[in-house]
Assembly symmetry: C2
Homo-oligomer: 203 residues x 2
């Protein structure tokens, strides 16, 4: 049976029900731990994000969508103040720790959940040593979305760490082989199984 | 073995290699067919997008990132002119047709790839009848990203069609059960297999 809901049905949903519903609507999402560091206290911060997306390949640009009035505020502040953050793909081996970073801690989530910070000379922010695919980003542009107060920050890729055997001849990264997982809604985690790659489409 | 690339390595990549590489970096992506219609000729248009993301739950807002200088230009024009588009989750049963919509046709991609347009009274744009999860969007705000000329358009959800047995008690939509698939890079399609759902995280 097909169910049909209109805008008014969504407006009348209970808050938590609506959050679950709308967050699942767009489909599967990327799953990254975003690492940052405070500019003066040097306290590291780690937060799980499903709102990370490709903006462009040349130059290589990646966007992160922030909710300024909710938990991951430190991430946005640290990213803005230091100019750097890291993206770390989540694998099944530490998905529970990744999820747990969304709790409110008053000390570093690295320590709280038991993941290991790793620093590189090209990026001021900490990486997650356990992650097989790691990306350093440098702050480029902030776009404020007036409709709901969210903030899109676009960063440029300063470096990438990845398993050598996951980088294919044509530049494609086999992230499934690298163990990267995906998520849906606010709390559902999924492995993937490849169906196929398709050639460039022509009429 | 871990491979390490810095920004300069990415700049020096051959174009197609870099496109494959950078498009895979962020992780798994949502996969939707975006349906639109021309305001005067009424020609329908269908294009596959992996750049569709959740912007907010209340009000329910969804963003689509457009490259104005490439193939799916008609989608942006039609969406802007009519004020409506549809999102249609892709299932494995028609992923080849979905991919094929990225070829340049001078007539409707519905006809070209063999998918069926379906209209609802709440939305001017055509849905894909074959898709199990369908969302109608109304144009709300356009943000131009100066860094690379891409355009983020945010729409509000006007209606949703979904399988009744995929809507759980807490509002979560089991999109894996609905058959929705995910993608990585520009051309790799993947089924999913749930690892688990986790409760709201507390310290």
């Amino acid at each position: 049976m097909e169910k049909h809901l209109i805008a008014e049905d969504i407006t009348q949903m209970q808050d938590r029900y609506r959050r679950n519903f709308v967050n699942a609507l767009t489909g599967f999402k990327s799953l990254n731990l975003v690492g940052t560091i405070h500019t003066t206290t040097h306290q590291t911060n780690l937060a799980v994000f499903s709102q990370v997306f490709h903006i462009g390949a040349n130059p290589a640009l990646i966007g992160i969508l922030f909710r300024p009035d909710s938990v991951p505020r430190h991430t946005l502040e640290n990213y803005e103040n230091t100019g750097y953050c890291t993206l770390n793909h989540v694998q099944a081996s530490f998905y529970k720790q990744a999820h747990q970073t969304s709790a409110r801690y008053d000390y570093s989530e690295f320590e709280a959940v038991g993941l290991t910070p790793f620093f590189s000379e090209h990026c001021k922010a900490p990486y997650v040593a356990e992650s097989s695919l790691k990306i350093g980003l440098q702050w480029q542009e902030r776009l404020d979305i007036r409709l709901n107060g969210t903030v899109l920050v676009i960063g440029s890729v300063v470096e990438v760490f990845l398993p050598e055997n996951c980088l294919l001849e044509d530049g494609f990264i086999d992230i499934e082989k690298a163990g990267s997982i995906t998520c849906s809604g606010l709390d559902s985690y999924h492995n993937t199984q490849i169906i196929g790659r398709l050639p460039y489409a022509k009429p």
